[in-house]
Structures are given as structure tokens and as C-alpha cells.
């Protein structure tokens, strides 16, 4: 605690203007919240719901970056494939919620492994920019290939009937729904499971070792390629869950569905400190909240501008993100 306070004090001395702006913003928010606390609470609740979906996607970005230093831009499109897998399982084959989610995870994991083998592995020793460009190309390929008429068509599809019977409750004027609880519960379970896997199992230890130092890890008898493949699969499985939860909350699917959530999750990962698992989670919740508050108190048309400004500000002022320094262990 003392250490944290010291760090904050140092930071305030170093850049007082930014802290002043931050405090002013918070004061302004508090003022708006006092005017209509119920509305403010509703914004927060909606922001958390959105944040949990972003968190599931941001984790994939951060893990893959941590281990191979690649920003996998196709990740948002894997998220879209997860949404489609869940959609077909529930509406065409009448699977229930959990099996559909497992299917989305498996499909995304498989797809991501294939992408890694075809597009990224041959470039592992090439300059990092080559792999990055390939990732962008892969993203466009997934978007436009699936938009072909014989794949998913470019038109949107209404996600109905839903795998969950929708219910909502009024708690002190704030509307909460079962979908929200499911998103938060599933998100939390995934996070806890991931944390356990990365920090409490041998495989997790291997992942951290590969992230830290590949040649040495290989010398210690770790199958580096297998660990990297596993990391891609794990990140993609989380994106699959995220994709399904996203279309349950916003029941309309299109092949370009993953673009915006993908970019915003990327910003969340950068904001939290790319490579850091807790950073991705905190970053995603923050971005979700900033988004709803910006749309609520300023304007929906400004929302994306504000979120993307965060990316620029973070890159300018603190390129390592919130947890970039503190997180010594990478996964």
C-alpha cells in the first residue's frame, strides 16, 4: 500500500497537468452522477457488461502478444466466427446454452491453431512487421471470405430464437437482466480458470517460461511450438465465449461484427499493459465503462473518438500501459 502511494506521489510530481485533468474529469462525473444517481448506476452496470465481453477478447490479444510479440489482428474475426458457431448450434440444431458455448470455444480454438500454423508460424523468425501485416491480411480474409454468398452472406441475421429466455429485473430503478448475470458469471469463471492455468499448473509455467525466454525454455526441454499453439487456442477459445455472449446481448450477427469489439479490446489490452493478464481485465472494464459513460453523458457519436483517443494518449504518455511495469510475469 505504502509503495503504491509512493508511486502515485512520484507520478503526480512528474506530470501534474494530467493528474489535474483526471481529477477534474472525475469531479465532473461525480457531479453528473449526483444529478441522477439511477441513470449513472445504469450506465455503470451496462459498462461492466460490455467490459466483461471486451475482457474475454483482450485476454487473447495480450496472451498472444506476451508469448510471440505478435498483435493478432485476426482475433476480432475469430470472435465473429465464435458468434456464428453459437448461432448455428442454437438456432439450427437447437443446442442449449452451455453445449453451444463449448462448440464456439472448440471451433475458435481449432480455427486459431490453423491460422497460426498457416500464416504465423512460417514467419516466426521473419521481422515482426511481416507477421503483423499477415495478421491484418488474415483479418480481412476472414471478414470478406465469410461475407461471400455461399458462406454466411454479407447480410445481417437476427439471432433468434435465443438460447436463453430473456428475463429482467428492476433493482432500485436500475434494469438488470439474466443475460448480464450470465456474461459476468461466465466471464469471471473464464478469468479464474485462466489465472489458475497460467499461475498454478505446469503448462502455465511453461507458457510463462516461453514468454520470458524462448531459447532457454527450449533448452529446459519445453516444446516451445506446442506451447505457442496452445496459447493461440486458449486465447481463441476465450474469444469464442466472448463472441457468443456478445450476440446474446446484441442479438444480430454479421461477418463484420468482430471489427469494432476487436479494436476496442485491443485498446483495452494496450491500456492495461499489453502482455499483462490482470491489465487486460482492468483495461477492458475501464474501456467498457468509459464507452457507456461517454455515450451517456456526451454523445454516442463521440464515443469511438474518445475510446480511440485513449489509445493515443496511453501510447504517448505511458506506452507500457497501466500494469506494464508492475507485471514482471508474462503469459
Amino acid at each position: 500500500m505504502q509503495k503504491l502511494l509512493n508511486r502515485i506521489a512520484v507520478s503526480v510530481r512528474k506530470s501534474p497537468v494530467i493528474w489535474a485533468i483526471g481529477v477534474l474529469l472525475l469531479a465532473w462525473l461525480a457531479g453528473r452522477a449526483r444529478q441522477n444517481p439511477v441513470l449513472f448506476a445504469q450506465f455503470l452496470v451496462d459498462g461492466i457488461r460490455l467490459g466483461f465481453v471486451y475482457a474475454l477478447v483482450a485476454l487473447g490479444y495480450t496472451m498472444v502478444y506476451g508469448i510471440v510479440r505478435l498483435i493478432n489482428f485476426a482475433h476480432g474475426d475469430v470472435f465473429m466466427i465464435g458468434a456464428f458457431a453459437a448461432f448455428f448450434a442454437t438456432t439450427r440444431y437447437h443446442w442449449s446454452f452451455v453445449p453451444a458455448m463449448v462448440l464456439a470455444m472448440v471451433v475458435c480454438a481449432f480455427l486459431s491453431v490453423v491460422i497460426e500454423r498457416i500464416a504465423y508460424k512460417p514467419l516466426r523468425d521473419a521481422p515482426r512487421i511481416s507477421a503483423l501485416i499477415t495478421a491484418v491480411g488474415m483479418s480481412f480474409f476472414l471478414e470478406y471470405f465469410t461475407a461471400l454468398n455461399f458462406v454466411f452472406t454479407p447480410n445481417f441475421i437476427v439471432f433468434a430464437p435465443q438460447p436463453l429466455q430473456f428475463k429482467s429485473w428492476n433493482v432500485l430503478g436500475v434494469t438488470v437482466s439474466n443475460i448480464m448475470f450470465v456474461i459476468i458469471a461466465v466471464g469471471t469463471i473464464c478469468l479464474v480458470a485462466l489465472y489458475y492455468l497460467v499461475y498454478r499448473t505446469k503448462l502455465g509455467k511453461a507458457m510463462r517460461a516461453v514468454a520470458w525466454d524462448k531459447p532457454t525454455a527450449r533448452l529446459m526441454g519445453i516444446d516451445v511450438d506446442l506451447v505457442i499453439t496452445f496459447t493461440f487456442a486458449l486465447g481463441a477459445a476465450l474469444a469464442g465465449v466472448g463472441g457468443m455472449l456478445y450476440v446474446v446481448a446484441y442479438p444480430q450477427i454479421r461477418t463484420f461484427l468482430g471489427v469494432m469489439p476487436g479494436l476496442k479490446s485491443f485498446i483495452a489490452a494496450v491500456f492495461g499493459g499489453i502482455g499483462s493478464i490482470p491489465g487486460a481485465f482492468i483495461g477492458a472494464l475501464t474501456i467498457g465503462m468509459v464507452e457507456t459513460l461517454a455515450a451517456g453523458y456526451l454523445s454516442s457519436t463521440l464515443r469511438d473518438t474518445i475510446v480511440f483517443s485513449i489509445l493515443i494518449i496511453v501510447l504517448l504518455l505511458r506506452p507500457t500501459g497501466l500494469f506494464g511495469e508492475a507485471a514482471k510475469e508474462k503469459a
Partner: protein
């Protein structure tokens, strides 16, 4: 390309047949030549098909009655392909070669505008059944194009209609309005609704905009929920309102959803907008005798239910022919004066024209109920 060439040959052959028919017909003393223009090939071919069927039925009926003011009607078809360039070519052909005095069409505003601009220079009067862009009848500096008319309402008019419906039929006092930035159609409807709703004593409590890429509307909807208005006007296309409606239901918003003809699609998520109302040009469920009669006639000839485009074509042709009948001549200036002063009972409602050659007429308000779109009311402006 090959198919287009083939269809071109077919069109030319058909025109040949029509023209040869014309030659034998010119033996009777008085004739009037009319071009029926619309997209007959391409992606919007079904639009042109309806327009053509409706217009030809009207021409047939007038001919059976002996023609307007005793003129026998001859017609030619033009394929404008919903494309400004093809439309410009068609305009030159029907005006200079076929020497028509009147044009019924076209369908898409983008094709009607170049046709109007060429036809007007030759004093050829045009009446479109379905082109809703304001620019069809008004030029860039705001002057009315003398020889151009339309039989359908323009986009912003629907905002006025829905405001009237909310105030009078639903007895609404408060409204929320959302719009998509950068879409003229949606902005036009939203602004007109707000103006008319406030002029009628209502209050717009939420007026929010969003961008095309948005899928999460929770912040806007939280505000709508907080303000709890009587009606919620969402004049977007069917894809966005499906999404907004679904999220509004999740939020427990009970305000009645309202919209415009952008909702009119087989892909509309009827569960998401259940209980909502939207305006449209016409609905086959309308029980007025003229509508029932029209559907019966159309079905007898074409074996299907007329859509809004067929109705537009029929009304447009009838308006021009009734005006010729009233003027007693086919002199373009006399017919323009006749149309300007007409009061005509069309299938889509009683039509008179304003100074900008837009019809003043009722709109059909439809209700989404139990997964179906039903006729609710006819609303006069």
C-alpha cells in the same frame, strides 16, 4: 454481359412490336404517347416490374373507357436499370425517337433525376410513382421543376405523419427520437418528426444520434428508459431498428416504437419491434373499396398481390391521364396546370399537389403484431 446483350435484343424486339402496333394505330385521329420507364433488368428489376405492371393496367383501363379526353393512349417501355447513365440514354430515346409527350416513372430517385432534367428541356411531363428524393421535383437552388411531379410522399413527410399519428391516435405527450448521423433519409424523418411533434404540443424528451457502426445502444436506451416517453421514434432502416428494438425490450422500455418505411422489409425482426407502428405508402390490408378493387383487378391480370411499387405506378399513370382528361388537351403546359389543380382519389389516398409538385396525401400506418405487419390506419397530414 452476354445476358444483358440478349435482354437488350429482347427489349428492342419488344419495342419493335410495340412501335409497329403504334403505326397501325395512328390511323385514329387523336393519340397521346406515354413512356413507362423503370429498371426492367438488373438487381432492382422487381421494382421496375411492379411499376410497369401498375402503369400498364391504368393505361389499359383508360383505353377501354375511350381514352382521356378522347385521346387513344400508346405507350413505350424504357429500361433505366436504376442507373443514372442508362436512365439518361433512355430519356433521350423516348423523348427524341419515340416522341412521347409524357413519362411515367422512373423508380429509383437516382435514375429519375437525369430523366427529369432531359425531359424538361423538351417540355415532356414526368410523373414518378415511387421516387422519394426531394431533388426529383426541386432543383439545387430550390426552384420547382415545372414538368416534374411525383405520386408518392417525400421522405421527411413521413416524420410529420408519424408525429400526427402519435399525437392524435396514440395521444402521446412525450417522445424520444434517435437518428443515425450521415444518413439524409433518417435525419430528414427525425427532424420533421421533432418539428411536427413539438408544434402539436408534444415534448421531445430525448433526441440522440448514433453512428452507422454502433451495435451497443445501452447508453441511449438508458436515457430513454429514464425519461420514459410515450413514444420512441426510430426512423432507421430495418437492420438497426431490429437491434435497437431488441435492446429496448431487454431494458424494459415500454414506449411505443414508431418508424418510417425503412422498416419495410421481410428481414425486419418483428419480435424486436412488436407493438410498434411505421408509416408506408400503402398496405394491401387497407379496407377502402378503391384498394380492395385495385387488388382484385391486379390479381386478375398478374396473379399476385400488388406491392407499393405497382400501386405507385398505377397512381402515377392515373394522375397524368386524369389531368389530360381534365385539361382536354395534351399540351404540356395545360396538363401541368391541370395536375397542379387536381384532386384525385388514388389507391394510396386522396392526392392534391403542393407548390413543389409533391402530393399532399395520406400515409398508411402499419402495426407490427404477433410477427405480422397489419394495417392500422390512414393518416392525413
Amino acid at each position: 454481359m452476354k445476358r444483358r446483350f440478349l435482354s437488350l435484343i429482347v427489349v428492342v424486339l419488344l419495342l419493335g412490336i410495340v412501335l409497329s402496333g403504334c403505326k397501325t394505330a395512328t390511323t385514329t385521329a387523336k393519340t397521346v404517347k406515354i413512356a413507362v420507364v423503370g429498371p426492367l433488368t438488373g438487381a432492382q428489376a422487381t421494382f421496375g416490374e411492379g411499376n410497369k405492371n401498375g402503369a400498364l393496367l391504368a393505361i389499359e383501363e383508360w383505353n377501354a373507357k375511350g381514352g382521356p379526353a378522347g385521346y387513344k393512349i400508346e405507350y413505350v417501355l424504357g429500361d433505366s436499370q436504376c442507373d443514372p447513365k442508362a436512365a439518361a440514354d433512355v430519356a433521350k430515346k423516348v423523348v427524341d425517337e419515340d416522341k412521347v409527350q409524357f413519362i411515367i416513372g422512373a423508380v429509383c430517385s437516382s435514375e429519375t433525376i437525369p430523366i427529369v432534367d432531359y425531359a424538361s428541356t423538351k417540355k415532356v411531363v414526368l410523373m414518378s410513382g415511387t421516387s422519394t428524393s426531394a431533388k426529383v421535383t426541386v432543383d439545387d437552388s430550390g426552384n420547382t421543376k415545372k414538368y416534374a411531379f411525383r405520386a408518392c410522399f417525400i421522405d421527411p413527410f413521413q416524420g410529420k405523419v408519424m408525429a400526427g399519428f402519435a399525437l392524435n391516435n396514440l395521444k402521446a405527450k412525450t417522445a424520444a427520437v434517435v437518428l443515425e448521423v450521415g444518413n439524409d433519409y433518417i435525419i430528414g424523418l427525425a427532424e420533421e418528426f421533432k418539428k411536427a411533434f413539438e408544434a402539436g404540443g408534444g415534448k421531445v424528451v430525448v433526441y440522440e444520434s448514433f453512428v452507422k457502426e454502433d451495435t451497443d445502444f445501452s447508453a441511449i436506451l438508458a436515457k430513454v428508459k429514464d425519461a420514459n416517453p410515450d413514444v420512441f421514434f426510430v426512423p432507421t432502416y430495418y437492420d438497426k431498428v431490429s437491434l435497437i428494438g431488441a435492446q429496448a425490450k431487454q431494458k424494459g422500455i415500454t414506449s411505443v416504437l414508431l418508424g418510417g418505411d425503412g422498416w419495410d422489409s421481410a428481414d425486419l425482426d418483428t419480435a424486436a419491434v412488436e407493438g410498434g407502428f411505421f408509416s408506408n405508402h400503402y398496405h394491401p390490408g387497407d379496407s377502402r373499396p378503391i384498394v380492395v378493387d385495385w387488388i382484385k383487378k391486379y390479381q386478375a391480370k398478374y396473379n399476385k398481390v400488388p406491392d407499393a411499387l405497382a400501386t405507385g405506378g398505377y397512381d402515377a399513370a392515373n394522375l397524368v391521364l386524369a389531368a389530360i382528361d381534365k385539361a382536354g388537351s395534351i399540351d404540356p403546359d395545360a396538363v401541368v396546370t391541370a395536375i397542379e389543380g387536381i384532386s384525385y382519389d388514388a389507391v394510396s389516398g386522396k392526392i392534391t399537389f403542393d407548390a413543389q409538385h409533391n402530393p399532399i396525401k395520406a400515409a398508411a400506418v402499419l402495426k407490427v403484431q404477433g410477427g405480422q405487419v397489419l394495417y392500422e390506419a390512414t393518416v392525413n397530414p
